[in-house]
């Protein structure tokens, strides 16, 4: 029964993804600015014949509904077209850069959960204590800080002043581990390459913290409030009355139930992590799809923008789907 429900949920994502594809296609076409114009440079020394030839080459001379039809019919076969500026298949470009983005998003996710869940729990257990107030103030700070500011400040402090962490990129030249997954940290573990692992972690640290800080702040606050709610429940009182240690009450009885709202937030925030990448990837020269998207948008590289936005949309949809399914395991009372 559950399997059927899961399948139903998966199928229901198809119209969403289709809708996103159509909207992105139209929005890009109606944005002022022309890819050919941009391609020919700011000081575009080009004749009309050259422009027309390029339009034909890229199929931009056809009416918009024909272009949309061509895009969709190819997209369902997994062909997202060729990038107008990079002259390569969009799917190959995305595949190449996706590992960098995934690695960064995972780094940010790990950072935020490792930091936020204990803080949220401690703040709830020691409500109104100094620790609680200090960490909630820090969380407020974390939510309000824009990524570009935090990123640049951390570069100035940790790479320029203290000189202990690198300021940009994923790895220095010559240290790339043999490619297995494309995630440098994982690949260097798998291939047993210690120097790459150390370098990859050092490069990952500042961008992960920058990207993960707002999420850590949100998760800590959600964790605290749901933990507070759970701690006031009768079964917690009962557990205490049975003479269980406070540690056992919190970890075994309260925490698991308090995690449900946190899982929702994490699911939604995973999408945000990928979106926030555009800024963080630009600041840290991180060669992921966020930077690909920024370049593509400014160059009016229609197929590439469409491809990248499709990846974002799919990630959002899948993250939400995963959360829904995960619920049913954490709390069997919830049905899909």
């Amino acid at each position: 029964m559950r399997g059927l429900r899961v399948l139903e949920r998966i199928l229901s994502t198809i119209p969403i993804v289709f809708g996103v594809a159509v909207i992105v296609f139209c929005v890009m076409r109606f944005t002022p600015g022309d890819p050919i114009d941009v391609m020919m440079g700011r000081e575009g020394h080009v004749s009309q014949e050259q422009i027309d030839a390029l339009r034909r080459e890229f199929g931009l001379d056809k009416p918009i509904h024909v272009q949309l039809y061509m895009f969709l019919s190819r997209a369902v076969r997994g062909d997202l077209g060729n990038s107008l500026t990079k002259h390569r298949p969009v799917s190959a470009l995305i595949r190449e850069r996706l590992p960098a983005t995934v690695e960064l998003a995972l780094g940010a996710l790990v950072f935020s959960l490792v930091l936020a869940i204990p803080i949220g729990v401690i703040s709830a257990v020691r409500q109104y204590s100094f620790v609680d107030r200090a960490s909630m103030a820090a969380a407020f700070f974390g939510i309000s800080m824009p990524a570009f500011w935090l990123g640049i400040i951390s570069i100035i402090v940790f790479s320029v002043r203290l000189g202990i962490l690198p300021s940009y990129g994923r790895l220095p030249y010559g240290l790339e581990p043999a490619r297995v997954t494309g995630l440098y940290v994982l690949d260097s573990v798998l291939t047993g390459n210690v120097s790459s692992l150390v370098a990859a972690l050092r490069h990952l640290l500042l961008p992960s913290v920058t990207l993960g800080a707002p999420m850590a702040a949100i998760v800590a606050r959600v964790m605290r409030s749901s933990m507070l709610e759970v701690l006031r429940q009768d079964y917690v009182m009962l557990a205490r009355a049975k003479g269980l240690t406070e540690w056992a009450v919190i970890t075994r009885h309260a925490l698991v139930n308090a995690l449900i709202p946190t899982v929702t937030v994490v699911g939604v925030q995973t999408g945000v992590l990928l979106g926030g990448n555009m800024i963080v990837e630009t600041i840290f020269s991180w060669p992921g799809i966020g930077r690909l998207a920024v370049d593509a948008i400014f160059n009016r590289d229609y197929p590439l923008v469409q491809g990248v936005v499709m990846v974002y949309a799919l990630t959002f949809v899948l993250a939400n789907l995963a959360v829904d399914i995960l619920y049913t395991y954490i709390n069997p009372k919830i049905n899909l």
Partner: protein
Amino acid sequence: MGRRNLFVWFVIMLAMLAGGIISGCAKKAEPPPSDQLRTLSFTIDCENYNKAVAEAVAQQLRELGVDVQVRVWGDWAVLKEALLNKEREMLVNDWGNSTLDPYDLLNPKFETGGRGNYAHYSNPRVDDLLKRGATGTDEAERERIYKEVQEILYDDAPWVFGYAMQEIEASRKTVQNWVPATDSRINLHRVSLTEGDTLVVGIRATIESLDPANHRNRIAETVIRNMFDGLVTRTPDGKVVPEIAESWEAISPTLWEFKIRKGITFHNGEPLTADDVKFTFDRIITEGGLGNGKSSPRKAGLLDPVTEVEKVDDYTVRFHLSAPWPIILQMLVHQQIVPKDYVERVGSEEFAKKPIGAGPFKFVEGKLDERVVMERYDGYYGGSPDIPGAGPARIKRAIFEVIPETSTRVAALQSGQAHIIQSVPPELVPELDKDPNCEVKTVEGTRVYFLEMNVTRPPFDDVRVRQAMNYAIDWDLIIEKVLGGYATRLNGPLLPHGFARHTGLSPYPFDPDRARQLLREAGYRTE
């Protein structure tokens, strides 16, 4: 009787008409009474990188009672469309002029319908002069022509003439023998390091392509010119000197002959001959020359007059031109020679992935939006003998890293991850000056900065308003406060060190009283 009456009426009407015209003229010279004055109101368009200047200009104009807004556009493509539709009023803009010749500055910016003429300026006399300047062969005559153009433009004032910016770049102190080039390309051929043998350059944007015939971008050219050489090159201060060509001669104004240096090899060991030179230019000037129906973007505006490149013998080529083209040498600096056999064998796409040139460094690996790695080519012929330090490159390895965010680029230099960085904004210069490990280096740039006014619609269809704008802005203050002093004032549209610059014109002085007077004459309030 009837006739006489008619005649009298006719004379009376004529007198009234004349009186009207005369009084009208007289009125025109006098400013209208103050209750008829309007407030001058318009928007200044700019992009993020020149926002500070736009704000400073707006502030100064507000002090004259002008109601001015600044609009920052996130995206040049959108702004350009509005400009071409003649919808905008004043634009903070700049234009590159690497050839240092008025040909690729005045022609595109002031010819009727010119590709960069966002002022929509149109003057038949100027059109005629620019046409003659572009095809003239007599240097003195061209100079005279361009001087006349500058005089007309000075009075017509379609621009508020601004400043020429210096290029600000920076390096670690361990980098030796490097100076920024006037045309803002970073050439590592003669550079050495006191520590280590790998030099990292932080560049500001993605590299468009590594095929010298398939890009339209200064950054791509910067990287490419470390792996490829051209027939000629430019010294850091902008003089054209031989590189792959040994010598040249203009047989006639439309026929140029180049002798190619012997003993040059490409990175795959094959010798460079006239066939390679002819192939390089054929690929660019022929329709569909890049294969698969694709044409090179490096013809229009860069090689238009070249109709044919003819091989005379293995080491001699001739360029046939459709019209005299006085700046051919300046333009050839930007075209790099590619190996015919290799490109024909692998095709343009593969060539761009694994480029082979005849320059000081050979390609190792590269991702265009991440980094390009190159190593010294030991068989290098040595480069231009006219620039000191000919011979193989000093450093073993050069890496160009793409670091788009300015603060990150500066941080990479300060933390020692990069040795040379491009485009340091003036506001970060003091920070680098304080750093004992870094050095800021400047050179006169090849870009002029100005405010372009749309002359086809009010308020800037009135020359008095345009001149008033020129008197109203205190550029010296802006140069000092906003640009950190890294700029030189313009006395017209041309670069201070460019060819045919009119030395007899002095920059519009900062004269708010004169500006007010002109604005009042044009019917605007100034308090």
